[in-house]
């Protein structure tokens, strides 16, 4: 608590309950866990409230819930086709979790769950393992032909396959790091500019006038961060769909 405008402070975890251990691993209930719980509660209560009246002509709350639902529904149907129906709840869960995590992070003093690389990496690894599982369940071991493109000369086939494997393995890395990097960098930059405002304003009348520039920047960045928060959730969801599409419709 030494420096109140330390831009890293917002990412610190602290135990709320615990410390608990399972098999030697620390699994305390932290502020991150608390916000995960808040995300689940918010998404669930919002959608239940939205669907509660079930009016023929939707009100505002119901409209937002329906737009939310149809946005992901259309995405899944457009990318995965009719077979993708089974994955709709999963893609919806991923999108909603990431979206609400990002949006809650925009509130001051709130913790941003997705600003920790382990969270985004776990989600990304889960998506890729699911893609592999679905691919093998659908096409058997023949699914691994994905890495052996047809019509390539024998001489360079091992090389091409190696590249294919690397490109496949880099998917979870890029998927997880993209979300993590965006959320982390956005929050640090926002905090740095907001810190400038406080620093300059404490330097007297000239500083107060001088702090107008970083204040304007902080306001503009806040708007940008809301866009990024939505966009990254969207990107995460649509990439999940695209990767699942590879598992469902493998073309040899």
């Amino acid at each position: 608590m030494a420096n109140p405008i330390d831009p890293i402070h917002q990412f610190r975890l602290h135990d709320i309950a615990g410390p608990w251990n399972i098999a030697g691993y620390e699994i305390s209930f932290t502020n991150s866990s608390l916000f995960m719980g808040i995300i689940v509660a918010f998404v669930t209560l919002f959608l239940l409230a939205s669907a509660a009246r079930g009016a023929l002509v939707p009100g505002r709350l119901q409209s937002v819930g329906e737009i939310w639902y149809e946005f992901i529904h259309n995405m899944v149907r457009n990318v995965l086709g009719n077979e993708g129906k089974a994955f709709f709840p999963l893609v919806f869960t991923i999108f909603s979790f990431v979206l609400v995590a990002n949006m809650l992070g925009m509130f001051p003093y709130f913790f941003t769950v997705t600003s920790h690389v382990v969270v985004t990496a776990t989600l990304a690894v889960f998506v890729i393992l699911l893609v592999v599982a679905v691919g093998i369940a659908r096409h058997g071991l023949g699914w691994f032909k994905l890495f052996v493109p047809s019509g390539v000369p024998m001489a360079i086939l091992p090389f091409i396959s190696l590249i294919e494997v690397i490109s496949f393995l880099s998917r979870p890395v890029s998927l997880g790091l993209r979300l993590f990097g965006n959320m982390l960098a956005g929050h640090i930059v926002l905090k740095v500019f907001a810190g400038f405002v406080v620093l300059l304003a404490s330097m007297g009348i000239g500083g107060i006038i001088g702090s107008i520039a970083p204040l304007g920047m902080a306001v503009a960045l806040t708007a940008l961060e809301f866009l990024v928060a939505f966009l990254q959730a969207f990107v995460f969801a649509i990439l999940t769909c695209v990767y699942l599409n590879d598992a469902l419709h493998t073309h040899h």
Partner: protein, 202 residues
């Protein structure tokens, strides 16, 4: 089927990234608390000590959210949307049925209008023909009486004329007899005079 693969995959996520903290070294030895209050100094998002806790709670809450979404929230949303879709569809079909009914009524109306018009036209022609026929019979009847009257008048005129001619002959005979007697003193009978006149005329 995909439901079961989901669960399998979900379960496996807990195992796969788990080795990360093992590389992080003697983390479990210090049971100090996750990312402990700035104690470790390092960059919190990269602090491997907090990984097990975050993964553990992420899996729990993500699975919970998935269950709530797939079993409760999304089916309800789907019901609402489906009901709306059905209501709109039935309204549309009702509207199109009504429209068809209206069109049939209009067609029926137009047909009866055309019928009435044709009917009226028929009556008009019929009446016109009847009136014309009546006029014709009356005219011919009138013509007949008129021509009859004309013929009668003609015959009367010719009778009168004949009679008048006869009277003229008689007067001429009488006058001739009187003239003869006055001139010659001979008495000439009426018949002789008449004969003589007839001979003149011949």
């Amino acid at each position: 089927m995909s439901q079961s693969t989901l669960v399998v995959a979900q379960a496996s996520t807990t195992e796969v990234p788990a080795p990360a903290p093992a590389q992080g070294g003697a983390a479990p030895a210090t049971t100090e608390g996750t990312g402990a209050e700035g104690g470790h100094g390092g960059f919190p998002p990269m602090d491997a000590h907090s990984f097990p806790s975050q993964i553990f709670w992420l899996v729990i809450f993500f699975a919970l959210l998935y269950l709530l979404m797939s079993k409760v929230a999304l089916p309800r949303m789907e019901t609402v949307l489906k009901n709306r879709h059905k209501a709109i569809e039935s309204d549309l079909s009702k509207a199109s049925a009504l429209k068809r009914e209206t069109e049939a009524a209009i067609q029926h109306y137009e047909k009866s209008l055309a019928d009435a018009r044709a009917n009226a036209q028929g009556i008009a022609t019929e009446t016109r023909a009847k009136v014309a026929a009546e006029i014709e019979t009356e005219r011919s009847a009138l013509e007949k009486t008129l021509s009859a009257k004309l013929a009668e008048a003609d015959s009367r005129i010719s009778a009168t004329k004949a009679k008048a001619m006869q009277d003229v002959n008689e007067v001429a005979a009488e006058t001739a007899a009187e003239i003869v007697s006055a001139l010659t003193g001979a008495t000439v009978s009426k018949e002789q005079a008449a004969k003589a006149i007839a001979g003149l005329k011949g």
